[in-house]
C-alpha cells in the first residue's frame, strides 16, 4: 500500500485553490444578480438623503406630499415626516386650511377611509367622519377633502349606498360644516351610475364647486373624465371641458381666475393644461406639459407656477416637478364667446420629446401669442410620491 503524504504547504495550497474556486462560483452568481435591471429599485424616503437641489430649496411656502402612505411636509428644501402609515392604514390627500394652520387628511384603511383634522405639525385633532363598518359592504369611502374659502365648510367625496343595486358604488361630492355631524352632510352632485362617479371637488371663492365627472363616452366606448361646475347643491351643473378630452384633477389658482388640469384624450400619457376661468366658463386651454405621465397639478400660492408629479426612469417612480406658468393675457378688447369645446383635435396627443414644455395654441380659439416656456424643472430624483394623492401648497 502506497501512502501519499501531503506536506503542509501542499495542503494549504489545495485549501486555497478550493476556496478560490468556491469564491469564483459564488462571485459569478452574485455578479449576475447585481447586474439585473433596476426596474424594481426601491425609492428613498423623503428626507432620507439631503437634497441640495437649489430649485427645491427655492420653493416658497410649505408643501404637503404623500409617499408610501406617509404624509411629509416640504419647507425650504427639507422634508419632514408628519404622519406615518400603519400596517393597515395610510395617509393621503392632504388639504390645507385657508389660514395654513391645519390640514384635513384622509386615513385610508383596508375597506374604508375617514377624514381627520390635523395640525401642520402632524398632531391629530379630530376625526371628522366615521365610515367603518363590520359589514363589508356597509363601509364607506371619504376622499379628496377640501376646505372652502372661509375655512369652515368641508368638501369631500363620499359613496352613499344605492338602495336598488349593491353593485352600483359611485362617489358624489358632498359638503358639511367642518366638525359637523353626518346629518349635516349635503349632497351636491348626482353621478352617473357604474362609472366611479364625481370626484376631486375644488370649492370656488365665489361659491360652487369644480369637480371631475366620469361618464361613458359612447363615441369612444370608454369611461372618460370631464370637468364640471356646479354652483349650488343638487343643481345639474355644467361641463367645462368636452368629454373627449378626458380631463380630470382640477386645480384652481388662488385668485380663482385659472384652472389647471390633466387631460389624456383617452390615452396613457397626460397633458397638463391651464385655462382662464371667469366663474362660469373655461376659456381656451394652453398645454404646459405633454408627453409625460403627469398628475396632480398644484398651483403655487402666487399663481406663477405649478408643481406636479410625473413618472421618471425605468422604475416609474413619481418625482416632483415645477413648471412656470405664463402670465394671464391681457383682457381682449372684444369679449370672446366662452367655448367649452375645442373644434379640432389639437396636436396634444402627438409625442413630444419629454419633458420639453410647450405652449401650444389651440386652433380655432382666441389665444395669446405663443410664448416659449422654460422647460419643467425636476425637483426630486430618488423619491416615489403617491400620484393619486393631492398636493397641498400654502404660503
Amino acid at each position: 500500500m502506497i501512502r501519499r503524504r501531503w506536506s503542509a504547504p501542499s495542503a494549504l495550497a489545495l485549501v486555497a485553490i478550493t476556496s478560490v474556486w468556491l469564491a469564483a462560483g459564488a462571485g459569478v452568481y452574485l455578479a449576475l444578480s447585481a447586474h439585473r435591471t433596476l426596474v424594481a429599485a426601491q425609492a428613498s424616503r423623503p428626507g432620507q438623503r439631503q437634497n441640495s437641489a437649489a430649485p427645491l430649496q427655492r420653493l416658497p411656502g410649505t408643501l404637503y406630499l404623500v409617499q408610501a402612505g406617509a404624509l411629509y411636509r416640504l419647507q425650504h428644501g427639507t422634508f419632514t415626516p408628519l404622519l406615518n402609515a400603519t400596517s393597515t392604514a395610510s395617509w393621503t390627500m392632504p388639504a390645507v386650511s385657508p389660514d395654513g394652520r391645519s390640514l384635513v387628511v384622509v386615513q385610508r384603511d383596508y375597506e374604508y377611509s375617514d377624514l381627520y383634522l390635523v395640525t401642520t405639525s402632524g398632531h391629530v385633532q379630530a376625526q371628522l367622519t366615521h365610515d367603518a363598518s363590520s359589514t363589508v359592504e356597509l363601509n364607506h369611502w371619504a376622499l379628496y377633502p377640501r376646505l372652502g374659502p372661509d375655512g369652515t365648510t368641508l368638501w369631500f367625496d363620499y359613496d352613499p349606498k344605492d338602495v336598488y343595486s349593491d353593485y352600483n358604488v359611485v362617489m358624489s361630492v358632498w359638503s358639511m360644516p367642518l366638525g359637523g355631524r353626518p346629518s349635516q352632510m349635503r349632497k351636491w352632485t348626482e353621478p352617473h351610475d357604474y362609472t366611479g362617479g364625481d370626484v376631486q371637488p375644488v370649492p370656488l371663492p365665489a361659491g360652487g364647486v369644480i369637480y371631475t365627472k366620469y361618464a361613458l363616452e359612447p363615441s369612444r366606448n370608454r369611461i372618460m373624465g370631464q370637468l364640471w361646475l356646479t354652483t349650488r347643491a343638487g343643481s345639474p351643473g355644467e361641463p367645462l371641458t368636452p368629454p373627449d378630452d378626458d380631463c380630470s384633477q382640477p386645480a384652481v389658482s388662488a385668485d380663482g381666475r385659472r384652472v389647471a388640469m390633466i387631460c389624456t384624450d383617452g390615452k396613457q400619457l397626460t397633458n397638463i393644461e391651464v385655462g382662464g376661468f371667469d366663474g362660469t366658463t373655461l376659456g381656451p386651454r394652453e398645454v404646459l406639459v405633454s408627453g409625460q405621465l403627469a398628475a396632480q397639478p398644484t398651483w403655487s400660492p402666487d399663481g406663477q407656477s405649478l408643481v406636479y408629479l410625473a413618472a421618471q426612469g425605468v422604475t416609474g417612480h413619481f418625482q416632483l416637478w415645477l413648471q412656470q406658468v405664463p402670465p394671464l393675457p391681457a383682457p381682449p378688447t372684444e369679449a370672446p364667446t366662452p367655448v367649452p369645446t375645442r373644434p379640432a383635435a389639437p396636436p396634444r396627443g402627438a409625442p413630444v420629446a419629454s419633458p420639453t414644455a410647450t405652449s401650444t395654441a389651440l386652433p380655432g380659439l382666441p389665444t395669446p401669442t405663443p410664448t416659449p416656456l422654460p422647460p419643467p424643472v425636476q425637483l426630486t430624483s430618488d423619491l416615489d410620491f403617491d400620484a393619486t394623492s393631492t398636493i397641498a401648497w400654502h404660503v
Binding site: 444578480s33 426596474v39 359592504e137 349593491d166 370626484v199 398628475a295 409625442p351
Partner: protein, 328 residues
C-alpha cells in the same frame, strides 16, 4: 512543470466554478422551461379536423406568413373554487404580431361569449379551458373566430401579481375610479367565496401587483361590465410591455421564479426565434399607433340570457371582417 500544472488546474477550476455559478443562477429558468413550457395541445391545432359549427370553423384562415403569428393569452383565477386543472379563463386576448411592420393587434374575447365548444356542446367561452385546458380553449377560439393560433400562454392570477411586483409595479393612467363592494378576496383568504371592498383611484399612478390585479379584475361597478374590464386588461398588458423593455436576460430567472406554477405555454426552445422576435418587437414599440386594441363591444356583440345566465352573443357577420382585417 509542477507549477504550470497547478496553474492550469486553478484556471480550469475557476472556469468550471464560474460556469457552476452561472448555471445555478439560471437553474430556475431551466426547471421552468422543462416543466411549464413546450406543453402540447393534444393535436388541437388549426390543422386538426373538428366538427363544423357554422360559426367560422369552416373558414379557418390558412397558415399565416412566416413572420407574422398569433398568440392566445389566457388568464385564470386559480383559487380553490375549481380544481386547479379545470379553472375558467377570466381573460382571453388574441394577439397578432407582425414583426415586419412592427404592428401588434390585441383582441379581447368576452368571457361570457356564448359559443360552441371544441369539446362539444355550447357554453360561455371561459368554460373551454375548464373542460380541456389549453387544448380546448385554443381549439374553441380557432373554430369560432376562424383564426389560426400559433402559440398560447396561460397565466394564473397569483403569477401576474408576482410578476408585476417583481418588475416593481406598472405605471398606468387608470380611466376612472374603480369601486367594487363585492370583489373576490380569494387571493388573501382561504374562503374562495369571500369578498372585499376595492377602490382604485383614477389617474396616472404606480400600481403594485395586487392593485393592478384589482384594476383589471373588478367588473361589478363598471357600466360596461366585462367590456370595461377587457379595456383595463389591455391597458395593464401594455404597461407591462412598456416595463418589459427595461428587462434584460439577467432578470429572466427572477421573472420565471415569480411565476412558479402560474405559467404555462406551448412555446419552447424550438420557438426561440419567435420569442426573440417578440422581445425585440416589444423594445421597438414606441408609438401607440403600433398597437391596435380591440374590444368586442356592440355591434360586434349583444347581451342575452340563456338558461337563466347572462351571456354575450356574437354578431359573427360583424366580427369576421374584423378578424380578416387584423388576423390574416
Amino acid at each position: 512543470m509542477r507549477w504550470r500544472g497547478a496553474l492550469a488546474l486553478l484556471l480550469a477550476g475557476l472556469f468550471v466554478s464560474g460556469l457552476s455559478g452561472a448555471f445555478a443562477y439560471f437553474l430556475p429558468v431551466a426547471l421552468v422551461a422543462y416543466a411549464q413550457t413546450g406543453q402540447t395541445t393534444r393535436g388541437a391545432t388549426a390543422a386538426s379536423p373538428r366538427p363544423s359549427t357554422g360559426t367560422g370553423a369552416d373558414a379557418l384562415v390558412p397558415p399565416v406568413a412566416s413572420s407574422a403569428f398569433t398568440v392566445l393569452l389566457m388568464g385564470s383565477d386559480d383559487d380553490s373554487k375549481f380544481p386547479s386543472d379545470a379553472v375558467l379563463t377570466q381573460s382571453m386576448i388574441l394577439v397578432r404580431v407582425i414583426p415586419a411592420t412592427r404592428h401588434v393587434t390585441m383582441l379581447s374575447i368576452p368571457r361570457d361569449l356564448y359559443v360552441p365548444l371544441a369539446s362539444g356542446g355550447e357554453a360561455k367561452i371561459d368554460a373551454a379551458y375548464s373542460y380541456g385546458q389549453a387544448a380546448d380553449a385554443v381549439a374553441t377560439v380557432e373554430q369560432n373566430f376562424g383564426v389560426r393560433v400559433d402559440d398560447w400562454v396561460w397565466v394564473g392570477l397569483r403569477g401576474l401579481v408576482k410578476l408585476i411586483d417583481y418588475l416593481g409595479g406598472v405605471d398606468v393612467t387608470t380611466s376612472n375610479p374603480v369601486l367594487d363592494d363585492f370583489y373576490p378576496a380569494d387571493l388573501e383568504n382561504s374562503d374562495p367565496y369571500a369578498y372585499k371592498r376595492v377602490l382604485v383611484l383614477p389617474g396616472p399612478q404606480h400600481l403594485d401587483g395586487l392593485h393592478a390585479m384589482e384594476y383589471v379584475r373588478s367588473r361589478h361597478g363598471d357600466v360596461q361590465e366585462d367590456f370595461g374590464r377587457s379595456q383595463r386588461q389591455q391597458q395593464v398588458l401594455r404597461a407591462l410591455e412598456a416595463k418589459a423593455k427595461a428587462v434584460n436576460a439577467l432578470d429572466i430567472p427572477g421573472v420565471v421564479a415569480s411565476f412558479s406554477g402560474e405559467f404555462k405555454t406551448n412555446m419552447n426552445l424550438s420557438n426561440i426565434s419567435r420569442i426573440s422576435s417578440l422581445l425585440s418587437l416589444a423594445s421597438q414599440l414606441n408609438d401607440p399607433s403600433q398597437i391596435e386594441q380591440i374590444v368586442l363591444v356592440p355591434p360586434y356583440t349583444s347581451t342575452g340570457v340563456i338558461d337563466g345566465a347572462d351571456v354575450v352573443l356574437a354578431n359573427w357577420d360583424a366580427i369576421r371582417p374584423l378578424i380578416r382585417q387584423y388576423f390574416t
